[in-house]
């Protein structure tokens, strides 16, 4: 807070990332907090003395800074309306508004923390066991649980704070990880002349070297120096390389087939396609298990080092460092140098590594080193105040537990390789007893690994491994033989190093977990910080039989939270092994699946690319006030006000409808007719030029696929229409049956090429005669005939067909003339009372004619014989697709038939309601409407074949009540089709 007395800012550090000359200010829960340019929200809050950053998922216990690297759930906050932002990686922006999550009324006073005392109500897997009886309780419990548990919430009323872009990026070699191995890999590949993309999730390259103050010597091709100095030299080389593109502060959250990496980089989701990938993803430091190991003030040693070296913040005043490896001794020294009193270093091992320089220095500066000891529990309410330390095996009465006062605990629980991406890529892991880590075993083609992810914790080895991986990745791009000599040299040096004593740490950096102390009331020992799963929970789950690690994960939910096991997988596997008496290798691990890190759904969605198809007449419909509907990807005019009025206009005067969305195919070539004979149930090779025939397509088993009209425009040219949604499928179907036959037929989808309108009604001829030279008289232009000519000065195909049951023409014109033709027809028809009609009116009109819509009135099991379209099936043809299935169906006879029905009262059923008999469904209404011509409800329905007789009485369910209807087999309107032929 501004002017806060708890200012923990250290004097300037040589490696810090902040610019102390640039001050920023932001709000945290309404209070002003000062920061410097380069600070993260968490570092600024820590500097201001804020210890509690969040509350636990389940028990609402206070949580503070834990990993400092964007892995754990402890610092999730809401930033400017965006929930679940990690405060430890979110850089401060001026005036940003940061709010806590999952606590009420405040972080410091959270009433829901009463749940910490109600653990007995929520044992492991409680949602499978509790609150289920009586039945009503679960609904209530579910709502309560959802409200009090969990993470941040999305404000669905708020404007989107961030709109994410998507970008594709191509690279010869992608290197994931900007630590020493990743830098060496990028340099090694770039030297071979290939393009390299180096991706790192931290704001600055260098990895752990940035905060590793240890002095390194004997490094390959590098002068001796501290971690930051070594990092600086490597980074400089990377910057100078023209072949390396760096993407920093970017999280690779998944790796897919063929080396596709998905990356979240600010407000951009980048999809990188690389020819080869080097994974130098390093490791995650993990916590230790002891009672109250989640108190604020208890953090990882690397987190404390980050605060000191990168942000110039003092992590605490008095620290106890607890460790299972040597690495923590350097951290203790860093803390000491930063002015933190080191109360003790507590090492679970009997001794630290021989000659460990940091240990010697600590001793010389009076720091007690308690080897063979571990923390059993921590005390404190809102921050750690002390820890209790006891001797580990064998427990000796001579060495009683001791209490050490502190306000900071740094944990070094070992390392867990960051191998999730490797698992995504299909790589496998083996547990290495020596390092205590799962290391890569089988690598997929084109994927290389280097550095700590391989279980190596020696800088020289990591650098050589990185270089080797980079060279090999480049070789995959450049081809075999290139850089072979250099690869051999590096491999030789690497082998030399690995056999050199003392290079690989002799003591495991990740010792298996010690037996965790049991929990006592109020003192929980957390394994999974995300889901609040304790050691006791794991033990209980195993006792209940969940011994398999995959099942244990699902039942306990450990590793399933925002950290995805980065903090807890190692402990979970260790505990499982310990309690089931198996080795860690035999226990195995859980499966890593994308995403490695949580990703906002908005980032995955990206810009709103929802492809929408519009006809060339779209604007005309909107100008006329049409209500538009989505029909698949198409936007269509549903109506222009009153569908009933539109129907009457067509029946009494003239109407015009946009039918551009009809699928259209041109089938050409000398064998085009033969192809159509093959795929349709009807004959087409014998169709004369200028004639139209209705066509029905069936699948192999004789069920209906699609329908439409086929027009012969020339001897070797057919114009085929399909239903709106099926054209791509039908094009593919035609090509599939054509392929490999050696015949000459070409199928081209010309749906986009034509705008199409249907002009229909008693005055349609009068309207169109004004616009065309084509003779439209009944004698010259008969029903089911076609012509090509000019309409409104535009070349057109005219088809005389009658889907709506009136004299009419379907007119297809080049799409770019669509608006002109529509506007000209509307003008010409004005004197005849022309009116546009939409989809709804068309549906009513066609229903009056009992014209079937495939997909609406038929389903995947319907065949033409049952659907009343047996007239279109020609068994006299030698062969057609579906013939055998239809033959069989014909022999068996129909069980159900599609019939018309007309209601016997004023009710109008809805589409899909059942036809009932004796209270039981016996059929289904497929389409039903009110007919303005008949003034009654009517439609089409599937009924048992024995009821498919003209005049049969049936019952249709309307609003749950059976209503009488009568079967009709003839069209309701113009049953003889006289109007169509006029």
């Amino acid at each position: 807070m501004a002017g806060d007395s708890h200012n923990q800012r250290l004097k300037p550090q040589p490696t810090e990332l902040i610019d102390r000359n640039k001050s920023l200010e932001f709000q945290f829960d309404g209070r002003r907090v000062n920061a410097h340019q380069g600070d993260t929200v968490a570092s600024a809050l820590h500097a201001a003395g804020v210890a509690i950053l969040s509350r636990g998922f389940k028990y609402h216990r206070p949580r503070g800074f834990l990993c400092g690297a964007g892995r754990c759930p402890n610092c999730l906050v809401n930033v400017d309306g965006v929930p679940n932002v990690r405060a430890c990686t979110q850089q401060v922006r001026q005036a940003m508004n940061v709010r806590h999550q999952n606590a009420w009324p405040s972080l410091n006073l959270d009433f829901l923390s009463v749940l910490d005392r109600l653990q007995w109500l929520m044992p492991v897997g409680f949602y499978y066991k509790a609150f289920h009886r009586p039945k009503f309780l679960w609904g209530l419990a579910q709502r309560v649980i959802r409200r009090v548990g969990g993470l941040g919430s999305v404000d669905i009323d708020a404007d989107p704070v961030t709109t994410y872009r998507h970008r594709y990026h191509h690279s010869d070699v992608a290197v994931v990880g900007g630590g020493p191995a990743g830098l060496a890999a990028a340099l090694g590949a770039a030297e071979q002349g290939v393009g390299v993309t180096l991706i790192d999730d931290q704001p600055e390259l260098g990895g752990h070297l940035l905060f590793n103050s240890k002095d390194f010597s004997g490094l390959p091709d590098l002068a001796d120096g501290s971690g930051p100095e070594v990092a600086s030299k490597l980074i400089q080389r990377v910057i100078e390389s023209a072949n390396i593109e760096v993407i920093s502060g970017a999280t690779v959250f998944a790796q897919y087939q063929d080396n596709l990496l998905t990356i979240l980089h600010g407000d951009e989701l980048v999809k990188v396609r690389a020819k080869s990938v080097v994974l130098a993803t390093g490791t995650y430091e993990v916590p230790l298990q002891f009672q109250n190991n989640d108190l604020p003030g208890i953090m990882l040693t690397t987190a404390a080092q980050r605060l000191i070296h990168l942000y110039g913040v003092k992590p605490g005043n008095t620290v106890v460092v607890a460790t299972v490896n040597d690495q923590a001794y350097q951290a203790a020294l860093d803390l000491l140098n930063a002015g933190v009193e080191v109360a003790a270093v507590v090492d679970v091992r009997p001794t630290y590594s021989h000659g460990l320089e940091a240990a010697t220095t600590l001793i010389s500066r009076g720091v007690p080193l308690l080897t063979g000891h571990a923390i059993t529990h921590a005390t404190g309410k809102k921050r750690v105040r002390a820890v209790v330390v006891a001797s580990v095996s064998p427990r000796s009465p001579d060495s009683p537990a001791r209490r050490i006062t502190c306000n900071l605990v740094c944990m070094a629980g070992g390392f867990q390789p960051a191998n999730a991406l490797l698992q995504h890529a299909g790589g496998s892991l083996d547990y290495d007893e020596k390092s205590g880590e799962g290391i890569p075993h089988d690598l997929p083609n084109g994927v290389y690994v280097a550095g700590e992810v391989t279980g190596v914790h020696d800088l020289a080895t990591a650098l050589l491994q990185g270089r080797l991986a980079g060279l090999e990745a480049a070789r995959l791009v450049s081809g075999p033989g290139s850089n072979q000599e250099e690869i051999g040299r590096v491999r030789q040096r690497l082998n030399g190093l690995e056999t050199e004593p003392g290079i690989i740490p002799s003591s495991p950096v990740s010792a298996p977990p010690v037996e965790a102390p049991t929990e006592s009331r109020g003192k929980k020992n957390f394994v999974c910080f995300c889901e609040d799963v304790t050691v006791k929970d794991i033990s209980q789950a195993i006792e209940e039989g969940f011994e398999d690690i995959q099942m244990l994960k699902r039942y306990s939910t450990a590793t399933m939270g925002p950290c995805q096991g980065k903090m807890c997988l190692k402990a979970l596997v260790g505990l499982c092994a310990q309690q089931t008496g198996r080795t860690i290798g035999d226990t195995g691990g859980t499966t890593a699946r994308p995403p490695v890190q949580p990703v906002p759904l908005a980032a995955l969605a990206g810009p709103s690319h929802m492809p929408v198809k519009r006809t060339p007449l779209d604007q005309n419909h909107r100008d006329l006030g049409a209500s538009m509907v989505d029909l698949g990807p198409w936007q269509r005019a549903h109506s222009y006000g009153s569908p009933q009025e539109e129907c009457l206009a067509v029946r009494q005067r003239v109407g015009i409808i946009d039918v551009t969305t009809l699928g259209k195919l041109e089938v050409t070539g000398r064998d085009a007719g033969a192809l159509l004979d093959k795929v349709y149930t009807h004959h087409f090779s014998n169709l004369r030029v200028g004639r139209i025939r209705y066509g029905l397509l069936c699948s192999d088993n004789g069920t209906i696929m699609d329908d439409g009209t086929v027009t012969k425009l020339a001897e070797d040219r057919y114009f085929v229409t399909t239903t709106t949604g099926n054209v791509d499928l039908i094009e593919e179907w035609f090509n599939w049956w054509q392929a490999g036959t050696g015949s000459c037929a070409h199928v081209t989808n010309v749906t986009s090429a034509y705008a199409a309108v249907n002009v229909a009604g008693p005055r349609a001829r009068d309207t169109l005669t004004k616009l065309t030279d084509v003779d439209l008289s009944a004698q010259s232009f008969r029903y089911m005939r076609s012509a090509q000519g000019a309409v409104a000065g535009v070349p057109a195909i005219l088809l005389r067909i009658g889907f709506v049951g009136e004299t009419g023409w379907e007119i297809h014109v080049p799409a770019e003339y669509g608006q002109h033709v529509w506007e000209t027809i509307m003008e010409a028809g004005r004197e005849f009372g022309i009116a546009p009609f939409g989809l709804e009116a068309q549906r009513i009109l066609r229903l009056e004619k009992m014209h079937v819509i495939v997909g609406q009135d038929t389903d995947a099991a319907s065949n033409p014989l049952d659907s009343g379209m047996d007239w279109v099936v020609r068994f006299d043809k030698e062969d057609f697709i579906g013939r055998e299935g239809l033959k069989l169906a014909s022999e068996q006879g129909p069980r159900n038939k599609l019939v018309g029905f007309i209601m016997q009262n004023w009710h109008v059923p809805e589409d899909g309601v059942p036809v009932v008999s004796g209270g039981k469904p016996i059929g289904k209404v497929t389409s039903a409407r009110f007919s303005p011509t008949m003034n009654k409800g009517f439609g089409l329905a599937w009924v048992p074949a024995e009821l498919a007789q003209d005049g049969t009485q049936i019952s249709v369910l309307v609003n749950g009540v059976p209503q009488p209807a009568q079967v009709a087999l003839q069209p309701f309107y113009d049953p003889e089709g006289e109007l169509l032929r006029q």
């Binding site: 594709y168 060339p616 081209t748 000019a790």
Partner: protein
């Protein structure tokens, strides 16, 4: 199809591209050119030419003539129309200047597959191409005028490849997709055909896609162009670059 001259004159038909309405909303000055309503500019042709030189511009080129030629003998049929042109390999383009013997006219032959060639030509060449590409050889080759079926947008300027990277996985870098290359891919989630035909030293990609997606694609391109510092441009700015 033939139109009687009398009928055409009587009705004065106007051709509009699929993006016509979008151009009007952006304040384009629409001018009739080659029988099409086309945007001359969206405010200032000079500013648009600057966009093209320094960032990128997107220009509606739907009026261009487009033919598809399919069949095993597609190459022979095309050679008959373009006797001096070397038919390109798959994924490549040959540009024929003075196509049809008309000064200033051009035609690009893009081979999409062994048996499929697309010809994209100056707007006025439709009739010449239709006549030339009629197969009377009895061989199984088929040509079709698909000018109406495809909308087209030219994406030109130094940032053009950057824009394409925002809407397509196709690698359009100079190394992977140099001048006179063509490919089919997905662009903003719909199928399209991309031709790279540079304007001198200026990268220029012609993207063709189903006309029904015109407005959708235009919106996606304008949105991406803004991120890249580009803007829609009219034919006047494009003409300036083409000299």
């Amino acid at each position: 199809m033939s139109i009687t001259a009398q009928n055409q004159a009587q009705f004065n038909p106007i051709r509009r591209s699929a993006m016509h309405h979008k151009h009007l909303l952006l304040g384009a000055l629409m001018v009739e050119r080659d029988g099409w309503q086309q945007p001359a500019h969206f405010g200032s042709a000079e500013a648009e030419a600057k966009h093209l030189r320094e960032a990128l511009g997107i220009c509606d080129i739907s009026p261009r003539t487009k033919f598809v030629i399919k069949g095993d003998k597609a190459e022979q049929l095309v050679s008959r129309v373009f006797p001096t042109a070397l038919i390109p390999d798959v994924g490549e383009i040959i540009v024929e200047a003075h196509a049809g013997g008309i000064h200033g006219a051009n035609a690009a032959l893009c081979r999409l597959a062994q048996d499929e060639i697309i010809c994209v030509a100056t707007t006025g060449l439709a009739t010449w191409l239709a006549d030339g590409l009629k197969d009377d050889s009895g061989q199984c080759v088929h040509s079709l005028d698909i000018s109406s079926a495809l909308a087209g947008v030219s994406i030109a300027g130094p940032q053009a490849s950057h824009l394409l990277a925002m809407i397509s996985e196709l690698n359009t870098s100079d190394a992977a997709f140099p001048n006179l290359c063509c490919a089919q891919s997905k662009f903003a989630d719909i199928h399209g055909t991309l031709l790279r035909i540079d304007l001198g030293n200026l990268p220029n990609y012609q993207l063709y896609f189903g006309r029904e997606f015109g407005e959708y694609m235009w919106d996606a391109l304008v949105e991406a162009a803004e991120v890249c510092g580009g803007a829609p441009v009219g034919f006047e700015a494009m003409d300036q670059l083409q000299g």
